[in-house]
Symmetry: C2
Subunit: 210 residues, 2 copies
Protein backbone atom coordinates (compact mmCIF):
# COMPACT_ATOMS: atom_id res chain seq x y z
CA UNK A 1 0.00 0.00 0.00
CA UNK A 2 2.17 2.79 -1.17
CA UNK A 3 2.02 4.60 -4.46
CA UNK A 4 -1.15 3.77 -6.34
CA UNK A 5 -1.26 2.88 -10.03
CA UNK A 6 -1.58 5.88 -12.29
CA UNK A 7 -5.29 5.57 -12.93
CA UNK A 8 -6.13 5.78 -9.24
CA UNK A 9 -3.76 8.59 -8.55
CA UNK A 10 -5.07 11.99 -7.63
CA UNK A 11 -3.68 15.35 -8.52
CA UNK A 12 -3.72 18.74 -6.92
CA UNK A 13 -6.86 19.70 -8.80
CA UNK A 14 -8.80 16.73 -7.53
CA UNK A 15 -7.87 17.57 -4.00
CA UNK A 16 -8.86 21.19 -4.38
CA UNK A 17 -12.24 20.22 -5.70
CA UNK A 18 -12.74 17.73 -2.89
CA UNK A 19 -11.59 20.22 -0.29
CA UNK A 20 -14.02 22.85 -1.55
CA UNK A 21 -16.82 20.39 -1.35
CA UNK A 22 -16.07 19.27 2.19
CA UNK A 23 -15.44 22.84 3.23
CA UNK A 24 -18.85 23.85 2.00
CA UNK A 25 -20.50 21.24 4.17
CA UNK A 26 -18.63 21.80 7.37
CA UNK A 27 -16.46 24.89 7.32
CA UNK A 28 -12.74 25.18 7.70
CA UNK A 29 -12.23 24.37 11.34
CA UNK A 30 -14.71 21.54 11.38
CA UNK A 31 -13.21 19.99 8.27
CA UNK A 32 -10.48 17.51 9.04
CA UNK A 33 -7.67 16.58 6.76
CA UNK A 34 -9.01 13.08 7.01
CA UNK A 35 -12.39 14.20 5.65
CA UNK A 36 -10.79 15.79 2.65
CA UNK A 37 -8.51 12.84 2.08
CA UNK A 38 -11.42 10.42 2.27
CA UNK A 39 -13.20 12.32 -0.49
CA UNK A 40 -10.41 11.37 -2.88
CA UNK A 41 -9.58 7.99 -1.37
CA UNK A 42 -6.38 9.00 0.30
CA UNK A 43 -5.20 9.13 3.87
CA UNK A 44 -4.65 12.39 5.66
CA UNK A 45 -0.91 11.91 5.58
CA UNK A 46 -0.94 11.80 1.81
CA UNK A 47 -2.32 15.27 1.53
CA UNK A 48 0.91 16.58 2.94
CA UNK A 49 2.65 15.44 -0.15
CA UNK A 50 0.56 17.86 -2.18
CA UNK A 51 0.15 20.75 0.25
CA UNK A 52 2.34 22.03 3.03
CA UNK A 53 -0.45 22.07 5.55
CA UNK A 54 -4.11 22.70 6.09
CA UNK A 55 -3.90 26.47 5.86
CA UNK A 56 -2.14 26.29 2.55
CA UNK A 57 -4.77 23.94 1.27
CA UNK A 58 -7.57 26.32 2.18
CA UNK A 59 -5.69 29.15 0.62
CA UNK A 60 -5.19 27.19 -2.57
CA UNK A 61 -8.91 26.50 -2.77
CA UNK A 62 -9.74 30.15 -2.48
CA UNK A 63 -7.04 31.23 -4.89
CA UNK A 64 -8.26 28.83 -7.52
CA UNK A 65 -11.86 29.97 -7.11
CA UNK A 66 -10.95 33.60 -7.36
CA UNK A 67 -8.84 33.02 -10.44
CA UNK A 68 -11.74 31.45 -12.24
CA UNK A 69 -14.06 34.41 -11.68
CA UNK A 70 -11.45 36.98 -12.49
CA UNK A 71 -10.56 35.22 -15.72
CA UNK A 72 -14.16 35.41 -16.77
CA UNK A 73 -14.68 38.98 -15.70
CA UNK A 74 -11.63 40.61 -17.20
CA UNK A 75 -12.54 40.23 -20.87
CA UNK A 76 -15.99 41.61 -20.15
CA UNK A 77 -14.64 44.68 -18.44
CA UNK A 78 -12.26 45.36 -21.31
CA UNK A 79 -14.86 44.92 -24.02
CA UNK A 80 -16.21 47.82 -26.04
CA UNK A 81 -19.72 47.86 -24.73
CA UNK A 82 -21.94 50.09 -22.68
CA UNK A 83 -21.44 49.95 -18.94
CA UNK A 84 -24.91 48.50 -18.60
CA UNK A 85 -24.16 45.69 -20.98
CA UNK A 86 -20.92 44.96 -19.25
CA UNK A 87 -22.51 44.92 -15.84
CA UNK A 88 -25.21 42.61 -17.04
CA UNK A 89 -22.63 40.23 -18.43
CA UNK A 90 -20.57 40.41 -15.26
CA UNK A 91 -23.51 39.56 -13.09
CA UNK A 92 -24.37 36.69 -15.37
CA UNK A 93 -20.99 34.98 -15.22
CA UNK A 94 -20.49 35.69 -11.57
CA UNK A 95 -23.88 34.52 -10.36
CA UNK A 96 -24.12 31.58 -12.70
CA UNK A 97 -20.61 30.61 -11.67
CA UNK A 98 -21.65 30.70 -8.04
CA UNK A 99 -24.61 28.47 -8.69
CA UNK A 100 -22.42 26.05 -10.56
CA UNK A 101 -19.67 25.92 -7.99
CA UNK A 102 -21.52 26.46 -4.78
CA UNK A 103 -18.75 24.76 -2.90
CA UNK A 104 -16.17 27.33 -3.87
CA UNK A 105 -18.73 30.10 -3.68
CA UNK A 106 -19.65 29.31 -0.12
CA UNK A 107 -16.02 28.87 0.83
CA UNK A 108 -15.30 32.29 -0.61
CA UNK A 109 -17.89 33.78 1.71
CA UNK A 110 -17.43 31.73 4.82
CA UNK A 111 -13.76 30.92 4.90
CA UNK A 112 -12.33 34.33 4.32
CA UNK A 113 -12.48 34.86 8.01
CA UNK A 114 -10.68 31.62 8.77
CA UNK A 115 -7.90 32.97 6.65
CA UNK A 116 -7.79 36.18 8.62
CA UNK A 117 -8.14 34.42 11.94
CA UNK A 118 -4.95 32.50 11.45
CA UNK A 119 -2.65 34.29 13.84
CA UNK A 120 0.09 36.49 12.52
CA UNK A 121 2.56 35.06 14.99
CA UNK A 122 4.91 33.13 12.83
CA UNK A 123 5.80 29.76 14.23
CA UNK A 124 7.46 27.63 11.64
CA UNK A 125 8.92 28.29 8.25
CA UNK A 126 5.80 27.59 6.22
CA UNK A 127 4.07 30.31 8.07
CA UNK A 128 5.94 33.11 6.48
CA UNK A 129 5.11 31.95 3.01
CA UNK A 130 1.53 31.62 4.09
CA UNK A 131 1.26 35.21 5.23
CA UNK A 132 2.71 36.42 1.96
CA UNK A 133 0.32 34.43 -0.14
CA UNK A 134 -2.64 35.29 2.02
CA UNK A 135 -1.96 38.98 1.62
CA UNK A 136 -1.60 38.53 -2.09
CA UNK A 137 -4.93 36.76 -2.11
CA UNK A 138 -6.64 39.66 -0.41
CA UNK A 139 -5.10 42.07 -2.85
CA UNK A 140 -6.37 39.99 -5.66
CA UNK A 141 -9.80 39.91 -4.13
CA UNK A 142 -9.74 43.65 -4.03
CA UNK A 143 -8.75 43.69 -7.66
CA UNK A 144 -11.77 41.54 -8.34
CA UNK A 145 -14.00 44.00 -6.55
CA UNK A 146 -12.35 46.74 -8.50
CA UNK A 147 -13.50 45.25 -11.76
CA UNK A 148 -17.01 46.00 -10.60
CA UNK A 149 -16.15 49.40 -9.26
CA UNK A 150 -14.53 50.45 -12.51
CA UNK A 151 -17.47 49.40 -14.58
CA UNK A 152 -19.92 51.27 -12.40
CA UNK A 153 -17.65 54.27 -12.29
CA UNK A 154 -17.46 54.24 -16.04
CA UNK A 155 -21.24 54.14 -16.34
CA UNK A 156 -21.58 57.08 -14.01
CA UNK A 157 -18.93 59.03 -15.87
CA UNK A 158 -20.66 58.45 -19.16
CA UNK A 159 -23.98 59.49 -17.72
CA UNK A 160 -25.32 56.02 -18.33
CA UNK A 161 -25.88 55.53 -14.61
CA UNK A 162 -27.05 57.96 -11.99
CA UNK A 163 -24.35 59.14 -9.60
CA UNK A 164 -23.97 56.67 -6.77
CA UNK A 165 -21.42 55.94 -4.08
CA UNK A 166 -19.52 53.48 -6.24
CA UNK A 167 -17.74 51.61 -3.47
CA UNK A 168 -20.92 51.13 -1.54
CA UNK A 169 -22.98 50.18 -4.54
CA UNK A 170 -20.37 47.58 -5.38
CA UNK A 171 -20.46 46.09 -1.93
CA UNK A 172 -24.22 46.02 -2.08
CA UNK A 173 -24.10 44.06 -5.29
CA UNK A 174 -21.40 41.71 -4.12
CA UNK A 175 -23.23 41.02 -0.90
CA UNK A 176 -26.29 40.01 -2.87
CA UNK A 177 -24.23 37.85 -5.19
CA UNK A 178 -22.25 36.12 -2.49
CA UNK A 179 -25.40 35.28 -0.66
CA UNK A 180 -26.56 33.33 -3.69
CA UNK A 181 -23.75 30.89 -3.04
CA UNK A 182 -25.23 30.34 0.39
CA UNK A 183 -28.91 29.79 -0.34
CA UNK A 184 -28.91 28.42 -3.87
CA UNK A 185 -29.75 24.74 -4.19
CA UNK A 186 -29.53 22.83 -7.40
CA UNK A 187 -32.92 21.84 -8.70
CA UNK A 188 -34.62 24.73 -6.93
CA UNK A 189 -37.34 26.92 -8.40
CA UNK A 190 -34.96 29.23 -10.21
CA UNK A 191 -32.00 28.46 -12.42
CA UNK A 192 -28.72 30.27 -12.09
CA UNK A 193 -29.54 32.20 -15.26
CA UNK A 194 -32.90 33.30 -14.00
CA UNK A 195 -31.38 34.49 -10.76
CA UNK A 196 -28.69 36.39 -12.62
CA UNK A 197 -31.28 37.90 -14.92
CA UNK A 198 -33.46 39.14 -12.10
CA UNK A 199 -30.50 40.55 -10.23
CA UNK A 200 -29.30 42.40 -13.30
CA UNK A 201 -32.72 43.90 -13.61
CA UNK A 202 -32.67 44.95 -9.98
CA UNK A 203 -29.30 46.60 -10.05
CA UNK A 204 -29.57 48.18 -13.46
CA UNK A 205 -32.87 49.76 -12.54
CA UNK A 206 -31.27 50.99 -9.36
CA UNK A 207 -28.59 52.62 -11.48
CA UNK A 208 -30.87 54.16 -14.07
CA UNK A 209 -30.23 57.88 -14.45
CA UNK A 210 -32.81 60.20 -12.98
Amino acid sequence: MARKPADQSVNREDILRAAASVLQRSGYEATTMKDIAAEVNLTAASLYHHFKNKDMLLLAVLEAGLDIVIDQLEPIVQAEKSAAEKLRAMIAVHVVGLTQHTAVGAAMVFEIRSLLAIPATLHNGHHHEFIIRRDAFFQRRDYFEDLYRRTIEEGVARGEFRPVDVALFTKTMLGAHNWVGVWYREGGRLSGHQIAEAMSETFLRALAPV
Copy 2:
Protein backbone atom coordinates in the same frame (compact mmCIF):
# COMPACT_ATOMS: atom_id res chain seq x y z
CA MET B 1 -11.60 31.31 44.69
CA ALA B 2 -15.14 30.29 44.24
CA ARG B 3 -18.16 32.50 43.90
CA LYS B 4 -17.20 36.08 43.23
CA PRO B 5 -18.75 39.04 45.00
CA ALA B 6 -21.88 40.35 43.35
CA ASP B 7 -20.28 43.27 41.53
CA GLN B 8 -17.83 41.03 39.69
CA SER B 9 -20.37 38.43 38.86
CA VAL B 10 -21.40 37.93 35.25
CA ASN B 11 -24.80 37.06 33.90
CA ARG B 12 -26.05 35.26 30.87
CA GLU B 13 -26.24 38.49 28.91
CA ASP B 14 -22.63 39.36 29.54
CA ILE B 15 -21.56 35.97 28.33
CA LEU B 16 -23.65 36.21 25.20
CA ARG B 17 -22.15 39.52 24.33
CA ALA B 18 -18.66 38.23 24.95
CA ALA B 19 -19.30 35.11 22.96
CA ALA B 20 -20.58 37.09 20.00
CA SER B 21 -17.50 39.21 20.08
CA VAL B 22 -15.09 36.29 20.18
CA LEU B 23 -17.11 34.46 17.59
CA GLN B 24 -16.81 37.38 15.23
CA ARG B 25 -13.05 37.31 15.48
CA SER B 26 -12.45 33.62 15.17
CA GLY B 27 -15.53 31.68 14.16
CA TYR B 28 -17.30 28.95 16.02
CA GLU B 29 -14.88 26.08 15.73
CA ALA B 30 -11.83 28.19 16.35
CA THR B 31 -13.39 29.82 19.37
CA THR B 32 -12.64 27.99 22.58
CA MET B 33 -14.72 28.06 25.69
CA LYS B 34 -11.66 29.41 27.38
CA ASP B 35 -11.53 32.37 24.99
CA ILE B 36 -15.09 33.27 25.74
CA ALA B 37 -14.61 32.79 29.45
CA ALA B 38 -11.52 34.97 29.45
CA GLU B 39 -13.50 37.80 27.88
CA VAL B 40 -15.64 37.97 31.02
CA ASN B 41 -12.95 36.96 33.51
CA LEU B 42 -14.19 33.47 34.13
CA THR B 43 -12.76 30.04 33.57
CA ALA B 44 -14.12 27.75 30.92
CA ALA B 45 -15.67 25.48 33.49
CA SER B 46 -17.78 28.32 34.83
CA LEU B 47 -19.53 28.77 31.54
CA TYR B 48 -21.13 25.42 32.02
CA HIS B 49 -23.04 26.82 34.92
CA HIS B 50 -24.78 29.19 32.53
CA PHE B 51 -25.05 27.09 29.37
CA LYS B 52 -25.30 23.38 28.84
CA ASN B 53 -22.52 23.29 26.32
CA LYS B 54 -20.82 25.09 23.51
CA ASP B 55 -23.51 24.41 20.93
CA MET B 56 -26.19 25.78 23.17
CA LEU B 57 -24.13 28.86 23.77
CA LEU B 58 -23.79 29.52 20.06
CA LEU B 59 -27.46 28.95 19.59
CA ALA B 60 -28.30 31.36 22.39
CA VAL B 61 -26.15 34.03 20.75
CA LEU B 62 -27.97 33.67 17.48
CA GLU B 63 -31.39 33.52 19.09
CA ALA B 64 -30.75 36.69 21.00
CA GLY B 65 -29.52 38.49 17.91
CA LEU B 66 -32.49 37.43 15.86
CA ASP B 67 -34.93 38.46 18.56
CA ILE B 68 -33.55 41.95 18.61
CA VAL B 69 -34.05 42.49 14.88
CA ILE B 70 -37.46 40.93 14.80
CA ASP B 71 -38.63 43.05 17.69
CA GLN B 72 -37.63 46.13 15.80
CA LEU B 73 -39.06 45.03 12.50
CA GLU B 74 -42.49 43.87 13.60
CA PRO B 75 -43.97 47.23 14.56
CA ILE B 76 -42.76 48.69 11.30
CA VAL B 77 -44.41 46.00 9.25
CA GLN B 78 -47.67 46.43 11.09
CA ALA B 79 -47.73 50.20 10.80
CA GLU B 80 -50.15 52.03 8.55
CA LYS B 81 -47.71 53.33 6.02
CA SER B 82 -46.88 52.88 2.40
CA ALA B 83 -44.85 49.81 1.55
CA ALA B 84 -42.04 52.08 0.46
CA GLU B 85 -41.96 53.87 3.77
CA LYS B 86 -42.02 50.60 5.62
CA LEU B 87 -39.24 49.13 3.58
CA ARG B 88 -37.13 52.19 4.09
CA ALA B 89 -37.65 51.97 7.82
CA MET B 90 -36.91 48.26 7.86
CA ILE B 91 -33.67 48.72 6.03
CA ALA B 92 -32.73 51.49 8.39
CA VAL B 93 -33.15 49.51 11.59
CA HIS B 94 -31.71 46.36 10.14
CA VAL B 95 -28.61 47.88 8.61
CA VAL B 96 -27.96 50.30 11.42
CA GLY B 97 -28.40 47.43 13.86
CA LEU B 98 -25.87 45.42 11.93
CA THR B 99 -23.34 48.21 12.07
CA GLN B 100 -23.91 48.62 15.78
CA HIS B 101 -23.65 44.96 16.62
CA THR B 102 -21.23 43.70 14.05
CA ALA B 103 -20.35 40.81 16.29
CA VAL B 104 -23.83 39.38 16.28
CA GLY B 105 -24.31 40.40 12.67
CA ALA B 106 -21.27 38.51 11.53
CA ALA B 107 -22.17 35.53 13.67
CA MET B 108 -25.58 35.49 12.06
CA VAL B 109 -23.97 35.21 8.66
CA PHE B 110 -21.04 32.98 9.39
CA GLU B 111 -22.19 30.68 12.12
CA ILE B 112 -25.46 29.54 10.66
CA ARG B 113 -23.60 26.81 8.96
CA SER B 114 -21.87 25.69 12.14
CA LEU B 115 -25.31 25.19 13.52
CA LEU B 116 -26.30 23.05 10.59
CA ALA B 117 -23.05 21.18 10.58
CA ILE B 118 -23.61 19.85 14.05
CA PRO B 119 -24.46 16.25 13.33
CA ALA B 120 -28.01 15.05 13.74
CA THR B 121 -26.80 11.92 15.48
CA LEU B 122 -28.00 12.38 18.97
CA HIS B 123 -25.44 11.41 21.52
CA ASN B 124 -26.40 12.63 24.91
CA GLY B 125 -29.55 14.08 26.40
CA HIS B 126 -28.76 17.72 25.71
CA HIS B 127 -28.60 16.93 22.09
CA HIS B 128 -32.27 16.37 21.63
CA GLU B 129 -33.14 19.73 23.13
CA PHE B 130 -30.54 21.27 20.91
CA ILE B 131 -32.08 19.93 17.74
CA ILE B 132 -35.49 21.18 18.76
CA ARG B 133 -34.26 24.66 19.52
CA ARG B 134 -32.14 24.79 16.43
CA ASP B 135 -35.08 23.98 14.24
CA ALA B 136 -37.16 26.57 16.02
CA PHE B 137 -34.40 29.07 15.35
CA PHE B 138 -34.46 28.36 11.65
CA GLN B 139 -38.21 28.74 11.57
CA ARG B 140 -37.87 32.03 13.29
CA ARG B 141 -35.28 33.12 10.83
CA ASP B 142 -37.67 32.33 8.06
CA TYR B 143 -40.31 34.37 9.83
CA PHE B 144 -37.84 37.24 9.87
CA GLU B 145 -37.30 36.90 6.15
CA ASP B 146 -41.04 36.76 5.74
CA LEU B 147 -41.42 40.20 7.26
CA TYR B 148 -39.52 41.49 4.27
CA ARG B 149 -41.36 39.33 1.80
CA ARG B 150 -44.74 40.47 3.06
CA THR B 151 -43.84 44.11 2.82
CA ILE B 152 -42.60 43.75 -0.72
CA GLU B 153 -45.59 41.65 -1.64
CA GLU B 154 -47.86 44.30 -0.27
CA GLY B 155 -46.16 47.00 -2.28
CA VAL B 156 -46.53 44.97 -5.44
CA ALA B 157 -50.18 44.25 -4.71
CA ARG B 158 -50.89 47.93 -4.20
CA GLY B 159 -49.11 48.82 -7.40
CA GLU B 160 -46.57 50.76 -5.41
CA PHE B 161 -43.81 48.49 -6.64
CA ARG B 162 -43.28 46.86 -9.97
CA PRO B 163 -43.95 43.14 -10.05
CA VAL B 164 -40.86 41.23 -8.97
CA ASP B 165 -40.04 37.75 -7.83
CA VAL B 166 -40.62 38.54 -4.20
CA ALA B 167 -38.65 35.68 -2.69
CA LEU B 168 -35.66 36.41 -4.85
CA PHE B 169 -35.80 40.13 -4.35
CA THR B 170 -35.88 39.54 -0.62
CA LYS B 171 -32.85 37.33 -0.73
CA THR B 172 -31.06 39.89 -2.84
CA MET B 173 -31.72 42.54 -0.24
CA LEU B 174 -30.82 40.35 2.67
CA GLY B 175 -27.59 39.29 1.04
CA ALA B 176 -26.62 42.92 0.65
CA HIS B 177 -27.57 43.67 4.23
CA ASN B 178 -25.81 40.72 5.76
CA TRP B 179 -22.68 41.57 3.92
CA VAL B 180 -22.62 44.92 5.68
CA GLY B 181 -22.00 43.05 8.92
CA VAL B 182 -18.94 41.60 7.30
CA TRP B 183 -17.22 44.61 5.79
CA TYR B 184 -18.39 47.45 7.98
CA ARG B 185 -15.81 48.92 10.32
CA GLU B 186 -16.55 51.51 12.91
CA GLY B 187 -15.02 54.83 12.09
CA GLY B 188 -15.06 54.10 8.37
CA ARG B 189 -15.99 56.55 5.67
CA LEU B 190 -19.72 55.94 5.97
CA SER B 191 -21.94 55.79 9.01
CA GLY B 192 -24.53 53.10 9.50
CA HIS B 193 -27.23 55.60 8.64
CA GLN B 194 -25.59 56.65 5.44
CA ILE B 195 -25.20 53.07 4.38
CA ALA B 196 -28.82 52.33 5.17
CA GLU B 197 -29.91 55.44 3.32
CA ALA B 198 -28.00 54.54 0.17
CA MET B 199 -29.25 50.99 0.24
CA SER B 200 -32.84 52.14 0.61
CA GLU B 201 -32.34 54.31 -2.40
CA THR B 202 -30.93 51.42 -4.35
CA PHE B 203 -33.66 48.97 -3.59
CA LEU B 204 -36.57 51.38 -3.76
CA ARG B 205 -35.46 52.54 -7.16
CA ALA B 206 -35.17 48.95 -8.20
CA LEU B 207 -38.77 48.47 -7.13
CA ALA B 208 -40.18 51.59 -8.72
CA PRO B 209 -43.12 50.76 -10.95
CA VAL B 210 -42.53 50.96 -14.68
